[in-house]
Symmetry: C2
Subunit: 705 residues, 2 copies
């Protein structure tokens, strides 16, 4: 890992292209440093000035009295590359290129940008940008940007890192963090990423002792494997990564491309990565710092059951609604907890001791009781985390929150305050935040944050299981390797299915026939009804050339079909090399599934599983997960399918044994990992459940890498 | 419509049960009135005090020097009913019952509450509550509540009404409105709704000249027809109704029930009502006032195309993402607009004049140009509304917003400001709001609000079409009435389908046979393959008694099947009255659809249309819409189906003619309206597309009302 300290906390800064023109992009970095009383040396560089803002100005880098640790470039684009070369020669350790006009503008710009990347590699200099808004170090109070330092003046350095590929939103978001009571450690705009990219920056911040959580604004992940190991490292460290993805839609992607010149990649693939690796995705930039605040609390739920103490019955119902939508539950509290809570309510209401615990009429008179109630909830094993909801205005609300604060440390379970009022409850918010209790404006946001923490916890467990699994020898590895070794250059359907059978998967009974008489022989052995399908490396879409005949019920039908298919195929594709005819048993297809493997250009192999036919095409009913998979991943994939109940026997479908799904998906993962670059994809479509709950492959294709 | 003025702005107030105990529920209404310097007479009533807070206290209502216009009850529950009776006798015009302990607590409480409702009806007194937090009149600055008056002190009276069935959230939400720069006119907590209910309150506010928009927090709609006409009236007035629904999930419903004693009703039905009638539903309480602010702007988009001027490319891409998700588009700007915008960018960037219009490098130097850019967008007919996005901190951001403000009135199209920063941009927010330009924290919220305005506009248009349609005589009305008149008491499948055929719908060819020979005769006339289905009013689930035989290919098969079915049915249901056997043509079913009608206890008949089989059960792929429908409603229903593309011929499905769907659904609507209470439901399942694009009914049931 490269040391980013010279970039984030340089001991001296040269501002190349510094200007004295008020409020210009070239003037503000210097005034920012002065405003924040930067303690290191500042060297403005501009051949046309002898002094800027009271500081001596130099004509070029060479004439500086020392080598600056960091160079901040605010020059016109055409001078940037030569300046960076001169920096590299003088062993400047880091550079921030604020200048724009590179890959986002033109082909020439893209070339200059590529050269920047090479220069960084050759010299070891860390280059941030070009087209970067810069870096804000809130810990040491060092602004290296033309953006506003409004928040740096007011905000204490915090424990949440912020990395953004979009510079334009960085300063605004830092201010929103401040408003949400979340304090930033370092904020970095990586710009066009000629050298330093998002993953490396997050990696560095994750290891940084000043940082507990990282928020990232992502347009494109350039280095997939690096991002994957970064996610794993953060799971190991227990530091959540929260992401907002820009460019989810095709239109959004196009807009993102036009301003940073980066290809935004496939959003569904990215979501699959996030899901598997515990990355917390914010739907909305508005949600980023509610999530960050929740994560910075540093406590994680022990189970998905919520305890809810609420001063408003309506807010309790909202909580239940949100929990239901987000995969959490309102915990069924134990009898002992119920008994303890009864002490707090008048006799006539003792039958109303339920969760959500509606205390409207109770705590008005005795705010301190909230603390004791919280303890009762904490000690209930069905409760994984607690929400305390108050209308929140005035002193009584604050007194309740104080009571909560006094008792929060009796447990390690997360506890969140929800205050329905806004500015009128500022003292209550401040009080909670001073005690490191995350505070929210609405039950829905609190529940969403609790759900995010729960998913992170589960991903951590899966990560541990994955690490253990990677050390175990895999039973089928040899079989998969053998099968791969036997694979020819242009696999037909028959080859694909033979390969999958060799890997241990269940394939429909079938034989390859190279003549009519052989087909009839196979037919008599297999039994009827049967299907005939032409096999040729050149004929990919068999239906289109009339290469398939179904429901053949006797030898005569097989003979006729064989000849007809052959004639049609030879007419449609006269040069095709016909390997023969596949004679397959027809089986009932009560439910069509699909499974497969796809090699993503960024993230490598992903395993796919879903409902087939119309479902996958019209309803997008497929789950993806990056390989290698573990058993827990396969369970997670199934729960993602809206039609999961069909696999469990809903609507009189044959129920599929869970271990069948698991072993199928793990085998595909095995194949993907063993294949290296050899395979580009596997399509199994359809895959059907058998009456005894197994999964049988009816058709499959292999794509070589 | 009852006059709610005495409730909202009483000239005198008696506080029955007033107390001097500091900060108690019984003390605060009085201190609130004093704090707000209420100008009318205040009469505390408490037999144990002679004076409270410096005001003379009376032992009972009878001894007051005048009849107060409003009575505010903060008594224990047991004294409430007798007090209300005494109020009614003295012709008090309105009462607010803050006391709790009624339907939400016990059966006795529910009875007392029902009596309250009767009392109101008998006397003409308006009763708000019980279990109400009270009323806050921000226009005349009159607090009639024990809740905090924090915001009333600071907030000018505004133009947004707030009605909540949950009292606990009212004051918190009023404060959030204040924070969002949205000013409330009146806030009413309707509590348990013994008399005054949500719809009546919203109706009154909608007619109120002080109110342009109403926000409602809904737990249960008690009077469906009243709510429907309220929605229509608001569409006529052009005043949007924004709703947050509490109790969407079963758990949430249970929690809501336990604290107000109201049945929360079916959420999907309510959503169908909202959708048809232009009610804007907020996903989150956090969104309520962003939406209200947008609506209060009073301008509505002319088309779904957005113009976007953005200082951050990333934020532009976020806007495109959100537009794509919410059914809006980023407008394709016209050539002339492009030419006008080119003037604002440097030459090298003139090929980058697109929408979103990324002005990062342009406006830094000339903030005023934003106004001219806005004008160019306004004049483009493809642009229905405009978003102007700024990072927002400091003076330059404010100058941009000032320029926008100066040009906003050159158009009636809505224009929203989006400011990425929060508190650091307070002056910019204030500036926009002072000019009645809605201001948002994030592109997503702004786009969601624009989408809400667009949906409201469309619902207004549909409402106008519905009004016109209701005045036209309906062609099939006579036919439907005749068919209904001929309907027997226990309709079988055969009766149901004959009825639907009489109403003009296409039903599969079939005949009823009462003997084997008759069945064979019908079979020979209809042609093969055929299905036989037993017909008996007592046999609802025909499959379960073996009452169906499919794929009969000749007369022998028909004869055998007839006898076998009869034997099985007679064994399973010996007492069933067997009407005969339905002989039906078998037709291909490439795609199964469902349609029908269902009478909701609250909202009356709803028409249903969707994909059948697994789809409707597992995937919930059905759209509902309250009857009577118009053609535009049927289009809207189809767009709600995720599988709508299948109806248009995706996946080689037979494309269904749009006019077929329309005429089917309009006929069902017609039947529902003509049937009055006679029909409780119609199930058409399956309904299949024919090869020539019609819709054919294969099976149907009628349920009498």
């Amino acid at each position: 890992m490269r040391d980013l300290r010279p970039l984030l906390a340089p001991t001296s800064v040269a501002i190349v292209g510094a200007s004295s023109r008020l409020n210009s992009v070239a003037a503000r970095p210097l005034t920012n440093l002065q405003e924040m009383e930067y303690g290191g040396a500042i060297y403005p560089i501009n051949p046309h000035s002898s002094e800027i803002a009271g500081i001596r100005c130099y004509p070029n880098l060479e004439e500086l009295p020392e080598v600056p640790e960091l160079a901040l470039l605010v020059l016109p684009a055409k001078h940037v590359l030569s300046t960076l070369e001169s920096c590299a020669r003088r062993q400047v350790r880091a550079a921030i290129v604020i200048s724009a006009g590179f890959a986002e503008r033109s082909q020439d710009g893209a070339q200059a940008q590529a050269r920047m990347g090479e220069l960084a590699q050759e010299s070891g200099m860390v280059i941030c940008g070009p087209n970067s808004l810069g870096v804000l170090n809130f810990v040491d109070r060092i602004p290296l940007t033309f953006g506003s330092v409004f928040d740096m003046k007011h905000s204490p350095g915090g424990r949440v890192g912020l990395v953004s590929q979009s510079g334009g939103v960085l300063v605004g978001l830092a201010n929103r963090a401040f408003d949400a009571g979340v304090n930033i450690s370092y904020a970095v705009a990586t710009g066009n990423e000629a050298d330093l990219e998002l993953s490396e920056t997050v990696e560095y911040l994750a290891e940084n002792p000043e940082t507990d959580v990282v928020v990232a604004i992502v347009e494109a992940i350039r280095d997939g494997p690096r991002f994957l190991s970064l996610c794993d490292r953060m799971l190991e460290l227990g530091k959540p990564l929260i992401v907002y993805k820009i460019g989810r839609s095709e239109k959004g992607k196009a807009a993102a491309l036009s301003h940073t010149g980066a290809l935004a990649g496939s959003y569904p693939v990215l979501q699959a990565v996030f899901r598997q690796r515990g990355v917390i995705e914010a739907e909305e930039i508005d949600d980023l710092f509610a999530l960050a605040g929740a994560c910075a609390g540093g406590r994680f739920p022990t189970c998905p059951g919520l305890g809810v103490i609420t001063e408003s019955g309506g807010a309790g119902a909202m909580t239940a609604d949100s929990a239901d939508e987000l995969g959490l539950t309102v915990a069924t509290i134990g009898e002992e907890t119920g008994q303890r809570l009864k002490e707090f309510v008048p006799k006539f209401a003792s039958d109303q001791v339920t969760n959500p615990f509606d205390v409207t009429s109770v705590i008005a008179e005795n705010p301190a009781s909230v603390g004791d109630m919280a303890e009762a909830f904490f000690e209930d094993p069905a409760v994984g985390g607690l929400l305390v909801i108050t209308a929140g205005s005035g002193e009584p609300g604050k007194a309740r929150m104080q009571a909560l604060l006094d008792h929060a440390d009796t447990s390690n379970k997360p506890v969140f305050g929800v205050i329905l009022a806004g500015s009128s409850a500022t003292p209550s918010y401040q009080l909670l935040r001073s005690g490191n209790i995350p505070a929210f404006h609405s039950p829905a946001k609190a529940v969403a944050s609790m759900a995010a923490l729960w998913h992170f916890t589960q991903a951590r467990k899966r990560h541990q299981a994955r690490s253990r699994a990677s050390q175990k020898p895999v039973a089928s590895a040899v079989r998969v390797k053998d099968a791969l070794a036997g694979l020819g250059r242009a696999p037909t359907e028959y080859d694909a299915k033979r390969f999958l059978r060799q890997c241990g998967l269940l394939v429909v009974e079938e034989r390859l026939a190279s003549s009519v008489s052989e087909a009839i022989e196979h037919a008599e052995t297999l039994g009827y009804p049967l299907a005939l399908k032409i096999q040729s490396p050149q004929i990919v879409h068999k239906t289109e050339v009339g290469g398939i005949s179904l429901n053949l019920n006797d030898r005569q039908a097989v003979e006729t079909a064989y000849q007809e298919i052959l004639a049609r195929a030879q007419e449609a594709e006269p040069t095709a090399d016909i390997v023969g005819m596949l004679v397959s048993r027809m089986v009932p297809t009560p439910l069509e599934l699909v499974a497969g493997m796809h090699v993503d250009p960024t993230f490598g192999p992903l395993i796919l599983f879903g409902l087939g036919g119309i479902w996958v095409e019209v309803f997008d009913e497929a789950a993806m997960c990056p390989a290698p998979l573990i058993a827990e991943d396969t369970l997670e994939m199934v729960t993602q399918l809206r039609g999961a109940s069909l696999l469990q026997g809903a609507r009189n479908m044959p129920a599929v044994r869970p271990e069948e799904i698991q072993s199928l998906l793990l085998t595909l993962s095995e194949i993907a990992m063993a294949a290296g670059g050899l395979l580009g994809g596997i399509d199994i479509n359809p895959l059907v459940p058998t009456s005894d709950g197994r999964l049988m492959i009816l058709d499959a294709s292999l794509y070589l890498g």
